[in-house]
């Protein structure tokens, strides 16, 4: 089925973005409105397309639109064409839906910023790029969106780039993403070299004939790409710093949408991973490590946004883990992705709301007792909190429980390890999220005198409220009759629901999970409700805490492994360039000049030495003759 409407999904925000960027200050008055409208229109189109899709039988739901032939050289033919199938529509709806809400939120949140128009331009640009990412029908098209969101992310993280650390954060995000992009490019190259195509459909068709080695290679490269974009281990370090961007950005890009692109990529490439067990194993390992990694650093964060960011990292770890579990996991990965999109976006907006009321203060130790001053924020944030820690019947419970279950059922020791990791992560999540709640909303007030906490205006709390509703109901909706699983089936092709030998019955798993969550909450309550909270983080803490505070030394490691040697290499090469390469050239020149001035001395000015030279020359010639007539 083809549809001519798909392109408008992208075109509308892209056009809006271009208009906003090019029209300059004139557009300050109406720029934010145009941006929001563009996003909303895109949402409208996607909603319409969704209804169209629903009207079709499951196997005919995928829609395509060929725009033009983009790159065509020899056998390398890539069309600019779009694919809207069951998987993409989930994302499209999430992106445009949450995106629109965040646009609305931003109107108010950014109202005092001189560059609000530019902000909306970037947001629109992001929406367009993200849509291209999920709508592209080939890896190369995806790549354009992939880097496009990277660019938008860079621009938005660095939105307040007058502050050098923010600019650095933006750069860091871009560069680390580029490492991921390297993986994606290589994956495309390998795919083209081995299968002669880069489109999803083409590769899907060719994959079964391809060697496992090839597919494993592609899979690993795709994993690198996903790790870069989704802040998965070992490319996770940029996400925390990315919180430099305005909070709506964190909500949209660094929580709900962009960072989940890695999960999308893996899910989209299911035909590769399913045939490459090694790559798949790596995916789950990465997912498991990251979910724990994120959760652990989340426990020590005092910056509310960074705490949420760590949480995001951890939650995406869950998704990656799920996606790595193969056909059984893809749907759960996407489900968690969607629910996470709601609750995490909602919580970020909540955090933004808090900051909005607290003079942009992000240190939770300077909060406290805010529930009285910001009741709506407290409620919406609280709903998100309940969702993320997995309290039934909130959304997170359904999605996370599924993942834990699937992980445990992965079989053998692998399943036990993964399951315990997931369970442990759930406990940690409960701990640090409770900590966030306690520090922010309960207890005694610790803020400075010049802070005048107040509730946010309606334009801000309304999106929060809508997202909160999503956090509450989405999980239930998705799992009702396995709705999402069936919806995605044509894409992720769970080749017949193979029966896994279940390690534990689902109800037991849920029970264990809930217990662990409750333990996590209790510890947090014990630590932060019973004891007074200092407004400055205590210094006399264990070495472990310190390490956790330093994000498990992730930056130190990067510095030691890449940055310092890199800088040294740069310095060395500059010296080599000057001294050795240019030096050799100059050396040759100097040699010529030097020998010239040495030879010049033969010109003594004495006529007798000249005649001696002639005589010597003659003698040499005679000697030559003497030799050759020998």
């Amino acid at each position: 089925m083809t549809s001519n409407l798909i392109v408008y999904l992208i075109a509308i925000p892209l056009f809006s973005s271009a208009v906003l960027l090019l029209s300059g200050r004139k557009a300050n008055k109406w720029g934010h409105l145009l941006g929001t409208l563009a996003s909303a229109s895109s949402f409208g189109v996607s909603a319409y397309l969704f209804t169209q899709m629903l009207a079709q039988p499951a196997e005919d739901r995928a829609m395509t639109q060929k725009l033009f032939s983009w790159i065509s050289v020899g056998s390398f033919n890539v069309d600019a064409s779009l694919l809207l199938d069951q998987l993409s529509i989930c994302f499209v709806l999430l992106i445009t839906g949450v995106g629109t809400l965040i646009h609305i939120y931003s109107i108010s949140y950014m109202s005092h910023d001189l560059d609000r128009r530019r902000f909306f331009a970037y947001l629109n640009l992001f929406i367009a790029a993200m849509l291209l990412l999920v709508l592209g029908d080939s890896y190369l098209n995806l790549y354009v969106g992939w880097e496009g969101v990277g660019l938008a992310s860079y621009l938005l993280i660095g939105f307040w780039n007058e502050k050098p650390t923010y600019a650095t954060a933006a750069k860091k995000a871009f560069v680390m993403n580029r490492v991921g992009d390297l993986g994606l490019s290589l994956a495309i190259m390998i795919a083209f070299a081995s299968m002669g195509t880069v489109s999803f459909a083409g590769i899907k068709e060719a994959a079964p004939q391809a060697s496992t080695t090839t597919l494993t290679a592609i899979g690993i490269m795709l994993l690198i790409a996903a790790a870069g974009k989704s802040a998965q281990f070992p490319l996770q370090a940029w996400l925390g710093d990315a919180m430099a961007g305005p909070t709506p950005v964190s909500a949209l890009i660094h929580a709900a949408t962009m960072v989940t692109a890695g999960v999308y990529l893996i899910t989209r490439s299911n035909f590769i991973f399913d045939a490459a067990p090694t790559a798949q194993l790596l995916v789950v390992i990465v997912g498991a490590i990251t979910l724990l990694f994120g959760a652990v650093i989340g426990t020590a964060k005092d910056d509310i946004k960074k705490a949420l960011a760590a949480s995001t990292m951890s939650q995406i770890g869950y998704m990656t883990l799920a996606a790595g579990l193969g056909p059984v996991g893809y749907a759960f990965a996407i489900m968690h992705l969607l629910t996470h999109g709601f609750f995490k976006a909602g919580m970020f907006l909540g955090a933004g709301s808090v900051m909005h009321g607290m003079n942009d203060e992000v240190n939770m130790r300077k909060y406290g007792a805010l529930r009285k001053f910001m009741p709506i924020t407290f409620i919406t944030f609280g709903l998100g909190y309940l969702a993320i820690i997995g309290i039934p019947p909130f959304a997170g419970f359904y999605s996370k429980d599924m993942i834990i279950e699937t992980a445990l059922n992965a079989g053998g020791i692998k399943g036990i390890l993964l399951g315990s990791a997931a369970l442990f992560g759930a406990g940690l999540t409960a701990f640090y999220m409770t900590r966030v709640m306690i520090l922010t909303f309960t207890g005694t007030k610790r803020w400075d005198d010049d802070a005048h906490p107040h509730e946010s205006p309606i334009l801000m709390w309304l999106p929060m409220a809508i997202l909160a509703i999503g956090s509450v109901v989405s999980g239930f909706l998705f799992t009702r009759g396995d709705a999402l699983v069936h919806w995605l089936e044509p894409v992720v092709a769970s080749h017949g629901h193979e029966e896994h030998s279940e390690l534990l019955p689902p109800i037991v798993v849920s029970g264990i999970a809930l217990t662990i969550v409750l333990i996590g909450i209790s510890i947090a309550v014990m630590m932060y409700v019973r004891r007074p909270i200092e407004d400055v983080a205590p210094e006399n803490v264990s070495a472990l805490t310190r390490i956790v505070r330093q994000d498990l030394l992730q930056d130190a490691a990067n510095e030691a492994i890449f940055m310092r040697p890199g800088q040294a290499l740069t310095k060395t090469l500059i010296a080599v360039d000057e001294k050795v390469i240019d030096g050799a050239v100059h050396g040759v020149g100097a040699m010529a000049i030097g020998s010239g001035s040495e030879l010049r001395k033969s010109q003594t000015g004495y006529v007798r030495s000249y005649s001696a030279l002639i005589l010597v020359g003659a003698a040499a010639i005679v000697l030559g003759i003497w030799v050759i007539t020998q």
Binding site: L21, F68, S69, W70, I71, S72, V73, G74, F76, A80, L140, Y143, V144, W146, E147, G148, L151, N161, E162, K163, P164, T168, A170, K171, F174, V175, R178, V179, D181, L182, S185, L186, I188, M189, I190, F192, A193, S194, M195, G196, T197, G202, I203, E205, A206, Q209, A210, S211, T214, G566, L569, T570, K571, L573, I574, D577, I581, D582, V585, G589
Partner: protein
């Protein structure tokens, strides 16, 4: 007698230069306007030619052959294929942009403004000639003669150590040129032994020679082109030259002149010495990879904006060279497209960078800071140019870079993988100056820098528009390039590696 489009296009700037010489001394503005007009007319002529170009015809088109030095079998012979057409188009489009963008850059020179534009126009004639020559001798003559105007442009109108840089440039190029001359002499003599002296490239391609001879002659040509391109380790002249030249000159130098090197590799190295090309391919690929990585790393470490751009170009030329010698249809087409796109993205970088430098009076990156706040339009232009330089998907350079990489991968996977690391370094070498110059607090002395004026906006707009448009829709160029690139590969006898699995 019909007028040959190539000759006409090439002649226009020369006529302009002669007329310009007759202008009175003081008339600076008139000289500028006149030069600008001439380049516009030239561009129009070239575009008119491009419209008539039959893109599926792999033969040379617009061929004109006139006897020049019959006793040596030397002809004035011109003709273009898709590759040459694209490069000529790039040259003639860049020329008016350079003039418009650098409206005042001739002021600080040793000689009059008029002389500057005469040199530019003469150079333009030679640029067209060098890409369209089909007589090796004619090519060589222009190849060498081009050095003279550039030499004076750098040495006379540049900044800093301009004369040293100009001399370095000239000597490097002359040295390479002389090596090529040695090879040309050998070819000429051989052609004489095999049926009459000729310099017709088509006939020379059929020369029979021993593989040793071919290897030596290939090296003569290749080193000349490698110096021109420039390829590691023959690159050290470029940063100096770019640092000293005016931005406009740098655009022409890096954007157009250096392309003669890579163009020459395709047109002469591959065509005349197919066997030797194959022999040396591994070595050249290695050099290309070193260039890519080395250029990028050195760019990261630069403190001077112009030097930085120069080193990025060294990295980019590594890509082009790699694409040429990987000899797959993707890499070959990609390399030519890369030449075109690099022309524009480097032009954008140098032009905007030049404006920044002219405003600030310094080319040290750390002297800038916070320009995004002070001069948002200029900052944006620079940013976009930078994005093009790091081959952001959606911009033109991505298409070419990716084609080169993917094409190379099918034949030399390891090389492609190493080269791909270059894209990470590219992010660093662009974002570091972007951060230092555009972001952060506005450094003292920059508060009152003026943003772009209308002339500057008009100058840069087509470049940026081309960068974006060709990123989304490169087909017009690719359609012209593909047949020619395929023809080159088939001449050497290379076919694309077949994928192990046949997909759709």
């Amino acid at each position: 007698m019909t007028i040959n489009w190539i000759s006409l296009t090439a002649l226009l700037p020369l006529i302009g230069a002669v007329l310009l010489a007759t202008l009175p001394k003081g008339a600076e503005l008139r000289a500028k306007q006149f030069a600008f007009g001439t380049t516009l007319i030239t561009a129009a002529s070239a575009i008119a030619m491009a419209v008539q170009f039959q893109r599926d015809n792999t033969n040379l088109q617009f061929v004109e052959v006139r006897s020049w030095i019959p006793s040596f079998g030397i002809n004035y012979a011109v003709g273009i294929d898709g590759i040459a057409l694209v490069l000529i188009l790039m040259s003639v489009i860049l020329a008016p942009i350079v003039i418009l963008a650098g409206w005042n850059e001739a002021q600080g020179g040793r000689w009059s403004v008029k002389t500057f534009y005469i040199l530019i126009l003469v150079l333009e004639t030679m640029m067209i000639g060098v890409f369209s020559a089909t007589d090796v001798f004619l090519f060589y003559v222009i190849f060498e003669a081009m050095l003279v105007p550039v030499y004076f442009l750098i040495g006379g109108y540049g900044t800093g150590e301009r004369s040293a840089a100009a001399v370095k440039f000239l000597l490097y190029s002359l040295f390479g040129g002389l090596l090529m001359l040695a090879s040309i002499i050998a070819i000429y003599v051989m052609s004489g032994d095999q049926g009459g002296h000729t310099f017709d490239i088509a006939k020379l391609a059929n020369l029979e020679m021993s593989s040793t001879t071919q290897n030596f002659l290939f090296l003569g040509f290749f080193i000349a082109f490698a110096i021109k391109a420039p390829l590691w380790p023959f690159h050290t002249w470029l940063p100096d030259a770019a640092q000293s030249a005016t931005p406009g000159t740098s655009v022409l130098l890096l954007g157009v002149l250096d392309k003669v090197g890579t163009f020459g590799m395709i047109r002469y190295c591959l065509t005349l010495f197919p066997e030797a090309s194959k022999t040396f391919t591994p070595a050249i690929i290695v050099l290309a990879i070193i260039s890519i990585i080395y250029g990028a790393i050195l760019a990261i470490g630069q403190k001077d904006l112009k030097r930085l751009i120069a080193f990025t170009s060294i990295s980019h030329f590594g890509f082009i060279t790699m694409g040429i010698f990987a000899m797959t249809s993707q890499s070959q087409s990609g390399a030519t497209l890369y030449m075109f796109n690099h022309g524009f993205s480097t032009a954008a970088l140098f032009i905007v960078g030049g404006w920044m430098i002219a405003r600030r009076g310094s080319s040290t990156i750390s002297d800038f800071g916070g320009l995004q706040r002070v001069t948002p339009v200029m900052a944006w232009c620079f940013f976009l140019a930078g994005m093009s330089s790091l081959a952001l998907p959606g911009l033109s350079s991505f298409v070419s870079e990716f084609l080169v990489l993917v094409g190379t991968y099918t034949r030399y996977p390891v090389a492609a993988i190493i080269a791909t690391v270059g894209i990470i370094l590219a992010a660093l070498y662009i974002l570091i100056p972007v951060q230092r110059a555009l972001h952060g607090p506005t450094t003292p002395g920059n508060e009152n820098l003026p943003d772009l004026n209308l002339r500057e906006k008009i100058a840069i707009a087509p470049v940026l528009a081309a960068i974006i448009a060709l990123g989304f829709y490169p087909s017009p160029l690719l359609n012209v390039i593909n047949p020619a690139a395929a023809h080159v590969n088939s001449q050497i006898g290379f076919t694309d590696p077949v994928p192990t699995v046949e997909g759709k």
